[in-house]
Amino acid sequence: MTAASLPREGAAPEAREPVAAKLAVQLGPGLLWLVAFFAVPIVLLLVYSFYRFTDGVMIETFTLENYARALHDTIYVQVFGKSLRYGLVVTLACLAIGYPVAYFLARAATRRRGLLFLALIIPFWTSIVVRTYAWKMLLGTNGLVNYTLEALGLIGAPIKMLYNETAVLVGLTHVFLPFMILPLYAVLEKIDPSLEEAAMDLGADRARTFLRVILPLSLPGISTGCLLVFILTIGSYLTPDLLGGPSEMMISNLIRSEYYVTFNWPFGGALAVLFLIITLAMIVVYNRLFKLERIVGN
């Protein structure tokens, strides 16, 4: 066996100049699917957003009134603002809560680490419907929290904890926490532990080692996690719907309502386009600062 045929683990496979036909066969279906069912529909959405909506019917005349309404009417501005605010709060909460967990996981003994990691992906892969309605069990007037508080004698009558902002934020944090922990863990795990030892050897105590070595090196993980959680949060539908009630409308609830209740597709489309622009803006900013390939690491 010559040296050339020994397995080269991890070596990048030789990239070749593509044979056009082969490439077409391999990429064709995927590309077609994306274009037909993703790109074109979104363009259509954009087109619709410029149409009129009069007397319950969509009319194909060009107008900017949908955008004007979306950007001026306080209700809609408020919904966007609230969603963005929730996005920020949940992202920061997930970061603060999740970072120590990710670090703990990354530094855990190998055998335990595997188990803990598997344990983490269980909530990650449980349907959002189940995870969200479960909070009704916890926060409801007959829920676990109230029951425990009453049993401990801390309160006399049950507190109303559902159908308000807090319930939604708690629910969102719960749902998206794994989306913060996993990218953080992926990056922290790759940091060579001997770098921490080197810093300590050079005189840095634990706090300074963290600030000067670990934190900077974990920045890609932090940014990926934050991007994911933020975008997912501002786009959430089910959690505000189940835990927030009618007073807690977020962007997705609003858009859905316009589409399925009012049937005002142009306006709904405009809202969706604005939402899309916000999302794309965030991604562009992220891409400027960090390579987009990092997201693939999951």
Binding site: P7, P13, A15, F38, I42, L118, L138, G235, Y237, F275
Partner: protein, 258 residues
């Protein structure tokens, strides 16, 4: 000392993450019709009632059908695309890779209503086909990622050896490449299935009035018929999803390069 604080924190967070799920499982075994605390009595009757419920059974069938189809499609399309992207150099390769990942990062509401609008334009109704299309869109990124990872670590000299021994491209792919990346493909398949099975929003937007999947059924029951049947069904699908994912993890466990 610091280690203990970290451990306690991690335990609390894990508790926070698991508590809701555990509550649901707990309540599925309760005897009472009301989902209150404390949970009294132990009973399996809600499981029985849940699976005697026609709507639930029908939703389960629909879910499985849709998810199997979507998973197969996503895996086929995704594997081919992964082969193209990993093994070729061409302009716009990075961009294309990102494009495939887009449905993951673009909010579901947008994907959903866009697809619905497009379908309506073509005079198609919401229904199984539309849901499958949507599920394939969000399943593709997972398959692509998993299979690409497998391909990146693949030793090309094995294929060269096969060709040196007389196998043509197609045979080499069938007899050497495919078997070796099969764990990755299967892992991706299971991921795509689970993503489809558990999905709510896109399904909700595209299903129309005729089609109900399990998540949709649970949602409907939460709002209109809140009985512990919900907990029973939820517990079952949690176990199903988790088992599939653990299986997928086993299959896609990469040999760590030293």
């Amino acid at each position: 000392m610091r280690g203990i604080v970290l451990k306690v924190w991690a335990a609390l967070v894990y508790g926070f993450l698991f508590l809701p799920i555990l509550i649901v499982i707990l309540m599925s075994f309760g005897a009472s019709k009301y989902s209150t605390f404390p949970v009294r009595g132990f009973s399996l009757k809600w499981y029985g009632r849940a699976f005697a419920d026609e709507q639930i059974v029908s939703a389960l069938q629909t879910s499985v059908t849709i998810s199997v189809i979507a998973a197969l499609l996503a895996t086929t399309v995704g594997t081919l695309a992964a082969m193209a992207i990993v093994r070729n150099r061409f302009r716009g390769r990075e961009l294309l890779h990102a494009a495939f990942l887009a449905p993951l990062i673009i909010p579901e509401i947008i994907t959903g209503i866009a697809l619905l609008s497009f379908a309506t334009l073509l005079s198609l109704q919401g229904g199984i086909a539309l849901v499958v299309i949507g599920h394939v869109l969000i399943g593709l990124p997972f398959v692509l990622t998993v299979v690409s990872t497998r391909l990146y670590g693949f030793d090309r000299s094995l294929e060269e050896a096969a060709m040196d021994l007389g196998a043509n491209e197609a045979t080499t792919f069938r007899r050497v490449t495919l078997p070796l990346i099969m764990p990755g493909i299967l892992g991706g398949l299971l991921l795509a299935f689970t993503v489809s099975f558990d999905n709510f929003l896109i399904t909700y937007l595209l299903a129309g009035s005729e089609v109900t999947t399990i998540p949709l059924q649970i949602y409907s029951m939460i709002r209109f018929e809140f009985t512990p049947k919900i907990h029973a069904v939820s517990t079952v699908i949690v176990f199903v999803s988790v088992s599939l994912i653990l299986l997928s993890q086993l299959l896609t466990r990469e040999r760590r390069a030293a």
